[in-house]
């Protein structure tokens, strides 16, 4: 189906990883797809620290799992789509899996991966229905660029900071021209002057805009490594509940991503067609 890259133009502003975690968990919970979540940061990303418990994290000192192992396979031409599954951690059984990032000691060593990253995610694409990749922000990174060029959909993470919005909309990056783009506002506050409708009116973007609202419960869940439990707890809450707005917005975003990838969501949703 597709490879989706989560990208942002500014580092650490718009909650790139936390948006990805929210969407991925929701897709795993409510859609019958095989989804892979991964990232290409060199340092420890928040993906591992939220999805995996301490014990699993400790066992990652050797690179028998994750992107390093796949890189070795790819370099020795032994990478096959069905092998990828052996090197991932299961978050939700048969639905959502996490491919760990690198454990290499320095960044130069890891940056060599951009030669084979294409074939790694290609193999993943052939096994999983959906691959969500968290890439580093900005455009000066070879690795980020090589992932972005192979992706089918690019989710651009922005926020309600006017400087960030201006920067993005005044000179839109070249590589977004021929891609399917979805814009997401992270840490969204609906009472702000810069609401979605106002932003749409100001900038007139071609891409659809979705949001991931700021939500206290979700923030705590991220810190407590209980994101999956949080989503299951709040799966069927009513409209009065404080987390309802967050859930419904994330649902919209998931649907939007599927639509951008050209997938009929009815086939895959848990409720059936």
């Amino acid at each position: 189906m597709g490879q989706v890259a989560f990208w942002s133009n500014r580092h650490g502003q718009s909650g790139n990883s936390s948006n990805l975690i929210a969407v991925a968990t929701l897709i795993g919970m409510e859609y019958l797809t095989k989804t892979l979540v991964s990232h290409t940061h060199w340092s420890m990303s928040s993906l591992e620290s939220t999805f995996l418990n301490e014990k699993d994290l400790d066992s990652s000192e050797y690179s028998s799992l994750g992107i390093d192992a796949l890189e070795r396979l790819a370099r020795s031409n032994r990478l096959a789509p069905k092998i990828v599954k052996d090197y991932t951690d299961t978050v939700l059984r048969d639905r959502l899996e996490l491919l760990r990032g690198t454990v290499k000691p320095n960044e130069e060593m890891f940056s060599m991966i951009h030669e084979v990253i294409g074939s790694i995610f290609d193999a993943a694409k052939n096994y999983y229905n959906l691959t969500l990749i968290d890439v580093s922000s900005g455009m000066r990174n070879k690795l980020t660029n090589s992932v972005l060029t192979t992706s089918d959909v690019i989710v651009v993470n922005l926020n309600q900071n006017k400087a960030v919005l201006d920067e993005f909309f005044t000179d839109e990056p070249e590589f977004l021209k021929e891609k399917k783009v979805v814009i997401v506002l992270g840490q969204y506050d609906r009472h702000s002057k810069y609401s979605v409708s106002n932003i749409k009116r100001m900038y007139k973007p071609k891409a659809p805009i979705y949001t991931v609202p700021h939500c206290t419960g979700y923030m705590d869940a991220l810190n407590d490594k209980s994101v999956v439990q949080f989503f299951f707890r709040n799966k069927n809450i009513g409209i009065q509940h404080e987390n309802h707005f967050f859930l419904s917005e994330v649902r919209k975003l998931a649907k939007g991503i599927f639509e951008a990838a050209g997938v009929d969501t009815k086939i895959y949703s848990e409720q059936g067609a």
Partner: protein
């Protein structure tokens, strides 16, 4: 309120509370079932993994982690890799299963060995015993690995017979296509066989099937799977045909199944016969020490025997017999036939040794010169035995074995003499007329006499023979106690002189040198004998391979438009022993089929194969292929019966020999360690008695 009352009250309250809590839980769960949130919990559990499989997962994780941890330890690494290689030859597991299975075997073996060693070490600990333990550990280790790996091997065969072939047959009837049948069978078969079926299916549907088939041939664990893959491929390529007993594919599958049956029967019978024999052969090692202790407690005279030169020899002989019988039993039980592939080790000790100029020079002297009959004979033997190493290695083996055996024997003889001398100088001097255990005082006295003697002997070492006696007497007279007593003086002099004689007689005898040389010769001949033995073993493999050729030819000859060249190509693809000559024949085929086939007969002088090649020669020009091979069916039946007969004979022979060899160490230990010392001691003491009687 005493303690008891408190405990009772706590018990009662906890019981009541637990009942209440249970009721509350039931109420909550029913309510959640009614309003649909139960579904919710179920889906959550389903997705995040339930608790039941946690233990399994823990074990799995532990195995994976320990595999990686063990691989960091230098000595263990080789051990693990060795086991893994053996497993890899049999199964096409994926990486994680492979690691788990390997670790399982490693834990089994190491655990058992550790337990055995600990138990035995608790029993007693002296130097010889530790050596014995080491031996026993090696033996048990090899045995365990063999049995575990063989078990896996047998399991695969049984799965082939019971499931895979039947499934393939069933689905083939349903679909009429080989690929589909294999795919379906791979989904319904049990794990190991299913993996192989999947592999063969992948071969059939791959882009370049011929190439991937060759790759599979190299990985196939036994000849049955090889044949199965070849058959399936042929049928897929050329289509099935109806012959007089139904479909060509299915009838051949039948034959293959009956061959598998034969193999399984052979193995089960051998296993049954050899089940306890190895253990029986090895157990005497454990009993050496207890027997020694018991005997020396009951009959103190026996202790002298065990600590003497003769005792040492018997010990060595018992050890050697145990080791030898174990190795022989293992070799006899070995069922690796037809799976032999010439191994090339990256770092062989032979290469390292041959790097040194001296060794290579010696080996070069030993080797027969080129173009001599001897050279030709040995090189042919190495080829026939499929040893897979060059001639100089063979001679290096001979040289090294010679050195080891002869030097080892010289060393042990020297050690024996040393022990005897030490015995004379240090063991308490006994009166010959005494029986039973010495009391404390007597022992002390004997010890003092020994010390006294030893000092004198040490002084006398450089003295010439002619005035030895006088000198000894003078030395003794220095002791005031002995000097005044004439009889004691005489006795002491005699005793010391006797001791000196015994010490002086402990040197390397000419016959000991002779024995060393003889053993050296045996060591020199040993590799040659091993090669001869291997050559005989290969004959069986060759017969197997020719049978497989017949299977393939039987299928190919049914196909229209088949040519001799195609048949040869197929044979070459399938061969392992006759690969080189067949390849040469195919290369020369263009320049004249007749001549090429003639050359093949010269290159591979194995009677059944030669007959087959003669038929091929006829089929080149004179008659159609089908006609040339119209008696193949009877031929195959005959060979099948013959193999049955061979197996029967082999099993009977092996059973007889195995029993004999297996029980040898037991007899050895009883006779050499108990009966013989008894008799020996009895006779020596009887003779001393007689002497005393005559003196009265």
């Amino acid at each position: 309120m005493d303690l008891k009352a408190i405990a009772v009250s706590i018990l009662l309250t906890s019981v009541v509370l637990s009942i209440v809590l249970y009721i509350v839980m039931k109420i909550i769960s029913r309510r959640s079932e009614r309003d649909g949130s139960q579904e919710h919990y179920k889906s959550y559990e389903m997705l995040t993994g339930n608790k039941k499989s946690n233990r399994k997962q823990m074990i799995h994780r532990f195995m994976q982690d320990s595999y990686i941890a063990y691989n960091k330890v230098p000595f263990l690494r080789n051990y693990i890799q060795k086991i893994r290689k053996r497993l890899q030859a049999i199964h096409s597991y994926d990486e994680f299963t492979m690691r788990r299975e390997t670790m399982r075997i490693v834990f089994y073996t190491l655990g058992t060995i550790a337990a055995v060693v600990l138990v035995l070490l608790l029993m007693n600990h002296d130097f010889t015993f530790i050596f014995m333990l080491f031996l026993a550990a090696i033996v048990v280790n090899g045995m365990l690995i063999d049995t575990l790996v063989h078990k896996v091997d047998d399991r695969l065969l049984i799965q082939l017979r019971d499931q895979l072939f039947k499934d393939v047959r069933h689905h083939y009837h349903q679909h009429g296509s080989v690929e589909e049948a294999l795919r379906q069978a791979s989904e319904s078969s049990s794990y190991e066989a299913a993996l192989h079926a999947k592999k063969i299916h992948e071969v059939l549907v791959s882009v370049n099937p011929e190439e991937s088939l060759t790759v599979y041939y190299e990985q196939a664990p036994n000849r049955f799977l090889k044949a199965f893959a070849g058959m399936s491929f042929l049928i897929k390529e050329f289509g099935d045909k109806t012959i007089k007993d139904g479909s060509l594919y299915l009838s051949n599958l039948n034959k293959l199944a009956s061959e598998v049956n034969l193999e399984i029967l052979k193995r089960t019978r051998l296993n049954y016969l050899f089940k306890g024999l190895t253990v029986i052969a090895v157990t005497p090692i454990i009993f050496t020490k207890p027997i020694e202790l018991w005997a020396s407690q009951q009959f103190p005279a026996m202790e002298a025997f065990y600590s003497s030169k003769l005792g040492f020899i018997t010990k060595i002989v018992v050890f050697a017999s145990v080791l030898l019988s174990y190795i022989l039993l293992k070799k006899m039980q070995d069922q690796q036939e037809g799976t032999y592939v010439a191994k090339t080790k990256k770092r062989s000790w032979e290469k390292l040794l041959l790097k040194s100029k001296i060794v290579s020079w010696i080996v070069d002297r030993l080797e027969p010169a080129k173009r001599t009959a001897q050279h030709f004979k040995i090189s042919k033997l190495i080829k026939d035995a499929n040893a897979g190493y060059p001639m100089e290695w063979h001679y290096l083996h001979r040289f090294v074995l010679t050195i080891i055996l002869s030097i080892g024997l010289v060393f042990s003889f020297v050690l024996m003499h040393h022990i005897a001398i030490k015995d004379v100088l240090e063991s308490p001097t006994q009166n010959n007329s005494m029986f039973g255990r010495m009391s404390e005082e007597e022992l002390r006295e004997a010890k003092s006499i020994t010390d006294f003697d030893s000092t004198i002997i040490k002084h006398m070492k450089e003295v010439k023979d002619n005035n030895l006696q006088d000198r000894v007497v003078q030395m003794i007279k220095q002791d005031p106690e002995v000097a005044t007593n004439d009889t004691l003086l005489n006795a002491s002099t005699e005793r010391i002189l006797a001791k000196m004689d015994r010490i002086n007689s402990e040197y390397m005898k000419w016959w000991e040198i002779l024995i060393c040389l003889l053993m050296g010769w045996v060591g020199y001949q040993l590799p040659y004998w091993v090669l001869l033995f291997q050559k005989r073993m290969r004959a069986m493999d060759m017969q197997n391979e020719v049978d497989q050729f017949h299977t393939i030819i039987a299928m190919l000859s049914e196909i229209d438009r088949v040519s001799v060249e195609v048949i040869l190509e197929w044979m070459e693809r399938f061969a392992s022993i006759f690969k080189a000559p067949l390849h040469k024949c195919l290369m020369n085929y263009e320049s004249g089929a007749e001549l090429a086939l003639e050359q093949l007969m010269i290159d591979a002088p194995f009677a059944p194969l030669v007959r087959t090649i003669e038929k091929l020669q006829l089929a080149v020009e004179k008659i159609p292929v089908k006609q040339a091979f119209d008696d193949l069916e009877t031929e195959r039946n005959y060979y099948f019966e013959q193999r049955k007969q061979d197996y029967e004979e082999m099993i009977n022979a092996k059973a007889g020999w195995g029993r004999m060899i297996g029980f040898t160490p037991m007899y050895m230990i009883i006779f050499l360690y108990l009966v013989f010392p008894f008799v020996f001691m009895a006779f020596t003491q009887m003779s001393t008695y007689y002497e005393l009687m005559q003196k009265l």
